[in-house]
Symmetry: C2
Subunit: 334 residues, 2 copies
């Protein structure tokens, strides 16, 4: 049963475990440094579907199917599925999960959704509201680019601060049993320091990551050195640098243990992604294909997973609003 | 601590209570049959803001502020806020709640969001993950119309099956103490019978409402006659009729106790809303301004609140997809 620690953090003493996990990605991600880790790599951007949006739904469906199959669970055994994505009205999740018949808690946390869904799934299992819960999210470069920026055919120049939306999905099955455990979680707050450049998401999200990591460390009385790794979602190189600088001001040096999923998923020299990867599917696929397997193999034991999201829409940006950020954190232990 | 009942329902035995609630609406809603019940009625559609989207954010902020003020709680005393809305990337919630500094669980359930947020807030309080949690959602006729249908200036003809998106927001503060209690909840599943007409949302959502109500009644071994009222979110007149017909086939007659928030909020003869009201703010404002006060006054004691959502986007509809529905249910007792 969940217990509050400090002002913001919730411990999950029954240790809900990540019993299974899977990542399905596009071919560019498959060609990146983590290429050998993914459970499924699509041959092209459409996965044989009529639209990129439908392809994104297929990625989400595929990740869930593989995660369920790995532990031989049927969809009807899952009490709750927590899901969301970047598309308007979260159609990646709605249509991707439609056929499973699992009760659905729809979420919106932009690129922070993997931590948001995992946080909620762990809470539900710890509280006894679900025996098995699934956390899943996705993003797709093509569906995101045309929704948030420009038609792909336009071929607009991308500034060096821009990030590349990952085509991918990650899914985790949470329940009681053997596996990497969720020990605690810190839900994010909206943090907005006034950044307005939609081509510099890392800078917009870094203050939210700093806020959440600080609140977690304070609530638990721990410091970065207590963890093998502190992963952020998709700050990219610019946001990562800003995060470290923001925490420097608080007397906290994150550099030795910090890694960013957006920096890890692509080879920036070779894959022309500028500041790194982004999108809900970025931290989701890196979590499921790299972080959790590394923990299962015993190479990482004590890990913070802090996914970050930029909460603007094209409409809010066109209306001159700044970009609010949010970051949700989950403490994992092997 | 939450306990599962039957296959789909979760009981909340600590009886998390709706300690406070408030509704803020637009002037058309204020001119309707429930006009005297709302806590705040805006003078015009912009609330003095630069856009309808910003006005929607203000409605959500206003509802939360009034609900907190009624029980003299400060924002920093709220552990979690569960919020979502119809706008792309849920900017009604993000920008409306930005200044509170409360940890935010972003939700997406289209027009089912009031039940979805209340369900999650009750679970969090029952589980001890939050001492106080807020559930809130909003919609705005003008921001929804131009996002989902046509520019307002276009003046398109509305078919008789169309519903009118409510301009309004509702917020509930959930915690332990005196008040109407959440006894149980049934999360919704995606149900899609193939309806494709975006001007007939009631028909698209009715099967989901039937599915959730049936699952709740089966899990709890109860029947409609056991409740003073069973409220649906915003099926309107056409969806309500379909819901009753769908349940007839299961041998269940809902008519004596069924009411629909979309039918209740407007005077259909006088206010030209065709099949009734819709939008997240419809069931949210009717819940907070009418249903809960009726329960507090002792006129209703045992109530099911089942809000319904249509999970399509303009993109999915343009791509020829059907409209999936979802309905989340909360069992309330005075």
């Amino acid at each position: 049963m969940p217990q509050r620690i400090g002002q913001y953090t919730v411990a999950t003493p029954s240790r809900p475990a990540l019993l299974s996990y899977a990542a399905a990605v596009g071919n560019k991600e498959g060609d990146g440094p983590l290429g050998s880790c993914f459970d499924y790599i699509a041959e092209d951007t459409t996965m044989g579907r009529g639209s990129w949006e439908q392809a994104e739904s297929m990625l989400q469906k595929t990740a869930v199917q593989i995660a369920l199959k790995k532990i031989d669970l049927a969809a009807r055994q899952i009490d709750l599925i927590f899901a969301g994505d970047l598309l308007n009205q979260c159609i990646g999740s709605t249509f991707g999960l439609r056929d499973f018949g699992i009760p659905l808690i729809g979420l919106f946390g932009a690129c922070s959704t993997m931590a948001l869904s995992l946080l909620n799934a762990a809470l539900a299992v710890d509280a006894g509201a679900a025996r098995y819960a699934v956390a899943v999210t996705s993003s797709h470069f093509c569906s995101a680019e045309r929704q948030f920026r420009q038609p792909l055919d336009y071929g607009g120049q991308r500034p060096p601060t821009a990030q590349w939306t990952v085509t991918g999905a990650g899914a985790c099955v949470v329940g009681h049993g053997e596996g990497i455990a969720v020990e605690a979680l810190t839900p994010g707050r909206v943090v907005d320091l006034g950044i307005k450049d939609a081509n510099n998401m890392g800078a917009a999200m870094a203050p939210a990551a700093a806020d959440t990591i600080l609140r977690f460390l304070k609530d638990t009385g721990t410091e970065p050195g207590d963890y093998d790794r502190i992963f952020t979602g998709d700050l990219g190189v610019i946001g990562s640098r800003l995060l470290c600088e923001l925490l420097d001001k608080e007397g906290i040096d994150l550099r030795a243990v910090h890694r960013d999923c957006g920096v890890m998923i692509f080879d920036r020299e070779r894959q022309d992604v500028h500041a790194g990867g982004s999108g809900c599917g970025c931290s989701a696929s890196v979590l499921c294909a790299h972080i959790l397997p590394e923990m299962a193999a015993g190479r990482l034991k004590n890990v913070l997973f802090c996914a970050t999201g930029a909460l603007m829409s094209p409409t809010s940006s066109q209306q001159g609003e700044s970009i609010p950020g949010i970051a949700h954190l989950v403490h994992l232990r092997a």
